[in-house]
Symmetry: C3
Subunit: 136 residues, 3 copies
């Protein structure tokens, strides 16, 4: 098993395709014949998810959906000291998840043709995010 | 580690109990004493989730909930060229997830008594879906 | 690989920080140099998720969000024989997920500084919940 911390470049709030940014940090993947790649984000206001790797409008629509589905101004929120985007960010992190595991074969992730790894950056100023990559 | 692609029979939009369809493709599972079974769907408009294996109304209610929670006609959707069911399907795929991992002991999945594996088919005409099964 | 069933003490409906309760059942973790910890809940009306380990208001706000986002009285619910909290509990279980996997290094989970493991108890009287912990 190989395990490594990767620090992603800071991103704006929204969804970002980060497959290449993650994989370039783990060149040993190309030598794995059969295994699993595991990605874990060490933050509770950002997420990892798998979705379409092509039309950027899919990422924009996803962000607009989540801005509506998880409002900033819910009258019942008590955790407001870190700003109006913080509590919605925690909720989105749990809805989308902190980790991904993807099968690996012949030196590459066995993603479908239209799949990529997305970072969900749910804070307005989230800064750099750390992902632990583990490969079996 | 054993890894295999399984092509599920096409399903209508909604949630479907697929535990048996998946496991019948991986008879080697019965010889695993202690491990993990990993299931990964290679599509961004369908999902895998674990839920109740008994009353089919639970699957129907889940589908009705998601049809309400993720509307087809959101005025802010820009990705509409693939039909009104496409963008909601992407959102549901990320809310529910692309993969499952389940402990294995004594030749069977350690699911709870009331748990089964569900396919979430989020397209009206999704066709056959491919799942990569990996067993450690 | 080590695998063990843990029976969590009964909890009220809502979100509960259970990192310590889970880890105290698996002291062998402290001897793992590099691996993955996998947590699987054997129920379809409770969930596991990773989120903030500090301010308890985050857990309260999360619960209030889910009580709004998944209503008990949806007119289209057919699965009502087990009480009004049952079908929403199934939906929350699928939205949040049944399992977690977390990298392990130097004898501890590689959680971020602000991350902990939460039990989502979605029934009013859920009773004790069983989690299968597997460590590679």
């Amino acid at each position: 098993m190989i395990q490594r911390l990767v620090h992603l470049a800071p991103k704006s709030r929204g969804f970002h395709l980060v497959t290449d940014e993650l994989l370039s940090a783990m060149p040993e993947l190309s030598q794995i014949e059969c295994g699993i790649g595991h990605f874990f984000i060490q933050h509770s206001s950002a997420s990892l998810t798998i979705n379409e790797n092509a039309d950027p409008d899919v990422r924009g629509d996803m962000e607009r959906y989540f801005l509506h589905a998880v409002p900033e101004d819910a009258p019942y929120f008590k955790h407001v000291v870190e700003g109006p985007d913080d509590m919605p960010a925690h909720i989105k992190a749990s809805l989308l998840g902190s980790s991904l595991s993807v099968p690996v074969a012949n030196g590459r992730l066995l993603l479908g043709m239209w799949q990529g790894i997305w970072l969900g950056e749910h804070r307005i100023e989230g800064g750099s995010r750390t992902v632990v990559i583990s490969i079996f």
